[in-house]
């Protein structure tokens, strides 16, 4: 994709750009158009080729999973890429009931619902205080929170297991909710502190002058103003908590309390023994589709929410 030094129309032979070239292109205004056109076309074809190739590599495994979930076990093994002979919906119902996917879904909804509300509430409370009030220890607490972002969680998990055991929180959904909230706080506080700093101070001051307490000012004035930030960080935490695998694997090992991701891995083990691969694939797709559908619908917000942290 180099510049072309002589401009025969249509030729795309690469050649090193020479100093004299610049003079020529500047002197002859009609020449560069042809050059760049040829270059542009080659580049365009090349980029489309590469981009399509990666798009196929992303989509194929997902399509393959959807297709496989409608096939019989025999067909899965004999012809992995063939279309299903008919849509075997019984795989899906078997996964939903017998393989406990319905339980896993319910547990996940409960845990993520509880911890998302808690994360946003406590995260915004801490972030607001850290962003807007001067007090001794403010910086220390702030860095204590954001320091948690770069520490390997697995290191804390060994003692955490026994902390939860002593508090009778091990293998309980509310225990898992508390842990999810605690481990979501670093990023949430980091993100929302930056966000609260960008909001104008005058509105809060006016509310305070009118006799509203600090607490009331926060809930009735500041939180509604912070809505865009809450949505971004909410989406980020929703996906992180919905997809969480490490924390439940260590802290929540009882069969009927399992959440989706670890439930699926469990399913892979048990269905493997039974040889029920089609049921397993149905479970996989069942877990995949709601998030993918939600992503496609709220595409813009999801991308903004997930990339917001890294851009700052």
């Amino acid at each position: 994709m180099k510049a072309i030094d002589t401009p025969p129309a249509g030729s795309a032979l690469p050649g090193p750009p020479e100093p004299g070239d610049v003079m020529v292109t500047k002197a002859a205004p009609s020449a560069p158009r042809k050059e760049s056109k040829a270059e542009g076309v080659t580049l365009n074809v090349f980029s489309h080729g590469i981009l399509i190739l990666w798009a196929i590599m992303v989509i194929m495994p997902l399509l393959w999973a959807v297709m496989t979930s409608f096939k019989t076990d025999r067909a899965i093994f004999t012809s992995p890429w063939a279309l299903p002979d008919k849509l075997h919906f019984e795989n899906w119902s078997r996964a939903w009931t017998e393989a406990h996917m319905s339980d896993y879904f319910l547990n996940t909804v409960l845990v993520v619902g509880g911890s998302l509300v808690g994360t946003l509430l406590f995260g915004s409370m801490a972030a607001y205080v850290l962003a807007r009030f001067d007090f001794p220890g403010n910086r220390f607490i702030y860095f204590l929170f954001i320091g948690g972002m770069s520490f390997p969680i697995i290191l804390a998990l060994v003692p955490l297991f026994y902390v939860l055991q002593n508090m009778a929180l091990l293998n309980t959904l509310h225990g898992l909710i508390l842990v999810y909230i605690a481990y979501s706080l670093p990023f949430t506080v980091f993100f929302l502190t930056a966000f609260f700093r960008t909001l104008p101070t005058s509105v809060a001051e006016a509310a305070f002058m009118d006799g509203a307490s600090h607490t009331r000012t926060f809930f009735q004035v500041m939180l509604p103003m912070a809505k865009p930030g809450l949505i971004s960080v909410g989406i980020f935490n929703f996906l992180g908590q919905w997809n969480q695998y490490l924390l439940p694997t260590v802290l929540n090992t009882e069969q009927e309390k399992k959440v989706l991701s670890q439930g699926l891995v469990q399913l892979a083990v048990s269905q493997g023994y039974k040889g029920d691969w089609s049921g397993l694939f149905a479970g996989l797709v069942m877990a995949m589709l709601p998030v993918l559908a939600a992503y496609i619908i709220f595409q813009r917000q999801v991308v903004a929410g997930l990339t917001a942290g890294a851009v700052k």
Binding site: A3, T25, M125, L155, P159
Partner: protein
């Protein structure tokens, strides 16, 4: 604004800070303390043993193997992922057919590509790992049957069952699932670079590759650097644990023992499978040191003058 200020501050900080201290900070401190004991995790009794765990770790072949693999992840994965993502993002933003009045243009359908590339990012890493475990299956998996389909029936690798290939297979899955995120991230950064820069450079005879290294990369440097650190931490931490544990250790994985072991997985096995909690925290401390050293190295060598535009 002074009235009741401190009561308010304490009231608002108490619960979040208490939860954070109890479930995050306290376990971190404890685990460093436990690394100097002989605590098994099963019984409440333990004694201080000084640096015994650390000297044991230095003589532990499996530890060195896990360290080597984790370091490989931390070096190779950011390099490949960030490199591929920069390439795709550049193609998306600059690779388009030249339109009237614009020096550079994005390819047609770039919005579509970005949506598709981002798919794996919203899926649980556990689901992705399970999916690829089946795709890699040597007998009936998607990959080997594609090879058969294109006439490469004689090339049927064992993938995850082959000690030489297993680690690469795992890394490919991590790249597959994270590239999209960085494409979108870098793409947003590239879109905010003024088009005049490209126009001026192209007029001066620069080709597109030169514009990438002379314009795009320097102006995007901050984002690339934070992306690099983010990917490294991910490759050292929970993500690599999930992929390796699900794909190569589970009863269906059949990965050859320790040929894919990574540090977080070794911590997990020592603590929750072998009942050696103290030794597990020792390996965890080593992982912490590696993670912090990685971030420090990237920041040190990545430091450049910040360009304002």
């Amino acid at each position: 604004m002074q009235h009741g200020k401190y009561r308010f501050i304490v009231g608002f900080l108490a619960i979040p800070l208490a939860m954070y201290a109890l479930f995050v900070v306290w376990p971190f401190i404890q685990s460093i303390y436990y690394s100097f004991t002989d605590w098994s995790g099963l019984s409440p009794d333990f004694q201080m043993v000084g640096f015994d765990n650390y000297s044991r770790m230095l003589g532990d072949d499996v530890f060195w193997k896990s360290l080597q693999h984790s370091l490989t992840f931390a070096v190779v994965l950011p390099l490949v992922t960030v490199g591929l993502a920069l390439f795709f993002a550049f193609m998306l933003n600059v690779g388009g057919r030249r339109r009237r009045g614009a020096a550079v243009a994005g390819v047609r359908g770039s919005a579509f590509y970005k949506i598709v590339y981002f798919f794996p990012q919203v899926l649980s890493i556990a689901i992705v790992a399970l999916l690829f475990q089946f795709a890699y299956n040597p007998n009936s998996g998607a990959i080997n049957s594609v090879l058969k389909g294109v006439g490469l029936g004689s090339v049927q690798p064992d993938w995850l069952g082959d000690p030489n290939l297993a680690l690469i297979c795992v890394m490919v899955v991590l790249v597959w699932s994270t590239v999209g995120f960085f494409v979108v991230l870098f793409s947003a950064g590239m879109a905010s670079i003024p088009k005049d820069f490209y126009e001026a450079a192209l007029l001066d005879g620069a080709n597109r590759i030169t514009t990438f290294f002379k314009i795009t990369l320097p102006l995007l440097w901050d984002t690339v650097q934070s992306g690099w650190i983010y990917m490294g931490i991910l490759a050292l931490g929970a993500e690599s644990f999930a992929v390796v544990q699900i794909m190569t250790v589970g009863p269906n994985g059949g990965g050859p023992d320790y040929s894919t072991i990574v540090m977080p997985l070794y911590v997990y096995q020592k603590a929750f499978r072998d009942g050696q909690a103290a030794y597990a925290t020792t390996i965890g401390v080593a992982l912490l040191v590696v993670t912090l050293a990685f971030a420090a190295v990237v920041m040190r060598f990545g430091r450049r003058e910040r360009l304002e535009y």
